[in-house]
């Protein structure tokens, strides 16, 4: 069942809102015109991952001759970082940058009439459509 979370305009860009719906904690993220949603549980040790810091992916700047000029931030990938232990996840895919098997649990999300809706299993909330 769809539950209205907020207006898209209420989210910063990049930005997020973590809400609780029927006991389930869900993080909704905005990157430009896109929105994403994940369960607020880190696959590592169940930490509140969506409440962490957002930072661009760090990259090693390796030139074609094999030399490194150090670390740089990605211009395209923004990560959400679990505040318990620092596990990072691509906000667009929910996938850990190093071990692709480690990923967040995705929650269906969509934008309709300027508002963000997530789909949850239970259908008793007052904000449901």
């Amino acid at each position: 069942m769809d539950v209205r979370v907020c207006e898209v305009a209420a989210l910063d860009d990049p930005g997020r809102k973590v809400v609780e719906i029927e006991g389930q904690q869900i993080g909704v993220f905005r990157l430009g015109d896109e929105v994403f949603a994940y369960e607020n549980r880190c696959p590592h040790l169940d930490g509140p991952v969506c409440q962490g810091k957002m930072l661009p992916l760090a990259l090693e700047a390796v030139a074609s001759d094999g030399t490194s000029s150090g670390r740089v931030f990605s211009k395209t990938q923004m990560n959400i970082i679990c505040p318990w232990h620092g596990f990072e996840f691509d906000i667009r895919t929910g996938v850990h940058p190093t071990d692709k098997r480690v990923r967040l649990r995705r929650i269906p999300v969509r934008v309709k009439d300027g508002a963000v809706y997530v789909t949850i299993a239970r259908a008793t909330h007052a904000n449901q459509r």
Binding site: C6, V19, I21, L45, K53, L55, W84
Partner: protein, 422 residues
Amino acid sequence: MLDRAAPKATSLPELPEITAATDTRAYLARAAVQAQSHDDYELIVDVDAHLQEGGFWPEIIDLLGNDVLKQTAQAMLRPGSLPLINMQPGMTFQAMAGRIPHQSGPQEQTDDPAKAGHRFVQIVRRTIETMGLDYQVIFPTAMLHLGMNPMEDIEVELARAYARWLIERILPEDPRIIALLYLPFNSPVECEKLVREYGDRPGIIGFTICAVRHKGVHHNQYARLFSMIEETGKPLVFHAGPHWDDPSFTQLNRFVSMHALSFVHYNLIHMTNWIINAMPERYPNMKVVWVESGLAWVPFLMQRLDHEVMMRQSEAPGLKRLPSEYMREMYYSSQPLERNDLELLEMTMRKINADTQLLFASDWPHWDFDPPSAITTLPFLSDQAKRNILGLNAARVFNLPVKRLRPRAKDVLAARAAAGVA
């Protein structure tokens, strides 16, 4: 006041970003939920948690017995600074540039100390009750480096001031908070004085050698100290730590590299000296605990020393058994538990007799902490092994009564719900 925005009538309950100022109870809220899974366990003991000295350093240096050092430290004191501590302030990368905020704390609000107790005690109580612990053993953080301080008198005086701060200010406020006596190991005679003076004080449950130092633990100058400790029946605990300035580690260009090796490095060296010099034969009743190096190093060293000793018996003539057999009788704290390969972890736990020798440790509030669920969710441990590791083994090592002190998990969650927090 907990960190939670009050829900408006028409809006969903919202959870804010977690920062260094987040209340411990909100930060660890998920641990309170996890605690329900093992709420019937007899005892939960966290054998390694930490004081972040920054906010409390003025109180500790105020207790320095040496007037010159006290005046020196107070003259150097700035907000958040740690005069006399040999750490490079620009090299503290633990919090990963804000990615792991709790490492930068504590910055949370606490209540009036006149009514609610010492600020540190208030914060530890929040941790204990949220994580679901009966006891928490407190270690210092910045003081872990003092073994490398070239001014030996600083280690001695700070060890004494820290002992007084714990014994006079902190431990009397809550019996669930317990600690070890920091031994200024670069000064053996001073260690003996401290053991004699403070070793039997309430809440002092053992003695710790902060392992970051270049001292052979087998040296004869420590013989009297070790005999004294053995007679107390309390354990000797080696607490590992990081030290980027160690010459070998200056080759490592990232904190993660140094951190991965440094903690293990010092315990490898001290354990090797302890075994090859047959200290378990010389102090057969000494309980020895190895803290904060994880577990993966132990089977490596067991194999390595067994292999070499079999060929070079003349260099380890005090041994009556294989090194691994002595090591299997020592105690190990669990954190940071290397959980990525469960097959290897299971084998490791079998090799160290984890059922009877492993002690749960959180290392909270450090960046690589483990909640009790790091143990309870391991699929290969029996229920009894989990009970032992989470508390019953520690009760035996630290002479603690098996008596529940923690609130029921459902009561902790109910209180949070009543206060309107997740």
